[in-house]
Symmetry: C2
DNA sequence: TTCCTGTCGAACAAAAGTTGCAGGATTTCC
DNA sequence: GGAAATCCTGCAACTTTTGTTCGACAGGAA
């Protein structure tokens, strides 16, 4: 019963290579070689290279949104600030748990293609809605001039992706499973400190 | 006297296409077509596609570092916090002035290649040194536990690149030359507010 | 057996980066 | 001012690489 063993191997190899060399910088032969399967396996399982990309990204975001929404639901009756803090923790934790995919997808989303636009509509719009809603709820009591809220939201969203863009400079700090956990806790605390300042001023 | 007119056209077209589709996602024929020059011009002027990349990135960072260092020199006798604020302003202003190249290079630097490693050693190490030095000087008086300084530095560096990664979400705000200026001022102020909080707490 | 799933190698067409060469334009030098 | 050298452009061709597909074959399930 070696069910779909090759499929898993392809996904694993592709994640690693896409992360390292980018989507266009990786050939299906690279992937097949790294996964130790035949070249045609990629087309067989995923309907080609593009299909492999769509499969990986879709799976990533489906789970991502599910995790986020579960968190928000569980914290439904919490205070606005607690809810947001919990959301931040969940997001960083999820991203850290799929580090390579996170970095890769984050990079790919800065491109301008049909596929990216589809992902933006299908998933990023929802993600953005959840973060914005939670953040604005926290800011609800405060009087802020004009578009200042937008700039603060941008700052927050920036903090949620920074570790996965400056990853090269920080990878030395995150090696074992344990240090992943440490990083999540410390970094989330850093963001939450910023948040506290925003609310209290 | 149409000196190197084609060369300029190639650079311009390449910047735009690399920004939009990435380096590996853009072919020399794409570039030649957009620039309305012959395919062989790319090899003629830049020694191939890779040479074009190196030319553009090198030029970008040479000027970037020169700008940064000129700012720091001019602000030599200022207070630490004023110096850092001025540095932040200079950086954001420069990045905004070459928006497409900034976004493109930022993305390309998240890859793992020989070229990227060279750029990190040659330029990013210097950039990092200037930012870190200026930031740590501001924090000099404060007692902060362990690696908290590092996390704050990361937060700062994140803010300096966020607009050029979340660019897709923010491009609506930045259209004319005037709005570029407005954006720089407002966004720099947002960062400086954060900085003020860090220093005073 | 028969059927279905998975694997493999070979092959193909398209795309990519590069190069050589010829002709035209421009500059340089006498 | 004219000849010579240099620079630039355009076309075509070549080599490699890339993504995909096809048919053959093995092995377990029905």
């Amino acid at each position: 019963m070696k069910k779909n063993l090759s499929k898993q191997k392809v996904i694993h190899a592709a994640s690693s290579l896409f992360f390292q060399k980018g989507f266009h910088g990786t050939s299906v032969r690279d992937i097949a070689q790294k996964a130790k399967v035949n070249v045609s396996s990629v087309s067989y399982y995923f309907n080609g290279k593009q299909g492999l990309l769509e499969y990986a990204v879709t799976k990533y975001y489906e789970e991502y949104l599910k995790t986020i929404e579960a968190t928000l639901e569980a914290a439904e009756n919490w205070s606005a600030i607690d809810r947001l803090n919990e959301l931040i923790f969940t997001i960083i934790q999820y991203k850290q748990s799929k580090l390579q995919l996170t970095c890769f997808i984050q990079r790919e989303l800065t491109l301008d293609s049909v596929f990216v636009r589809e992902m933006v509509i299908t998933y990023l719009a929802k993600e953005n809605f959840h973060i914005r809603t939670a953040f604005y709820n926290v800011l609800a009591g405060k009087k802020l001039p004009g578009d200042e809220k937008d700039y603060l939201l941008m700052q927050l969203k920036g903090m949620l992706i920074t570790p996965y863009i400056l990853h090269n400079e920080w990878k030395d700090r995150v090696i074992g499973d344990y240090s992943h956990e440490v990083f999540v806790n410390k970094y989330v605390k850093t963001i939450q400190n910023w948040l506290k300042f925003i609310v209290e001023n």
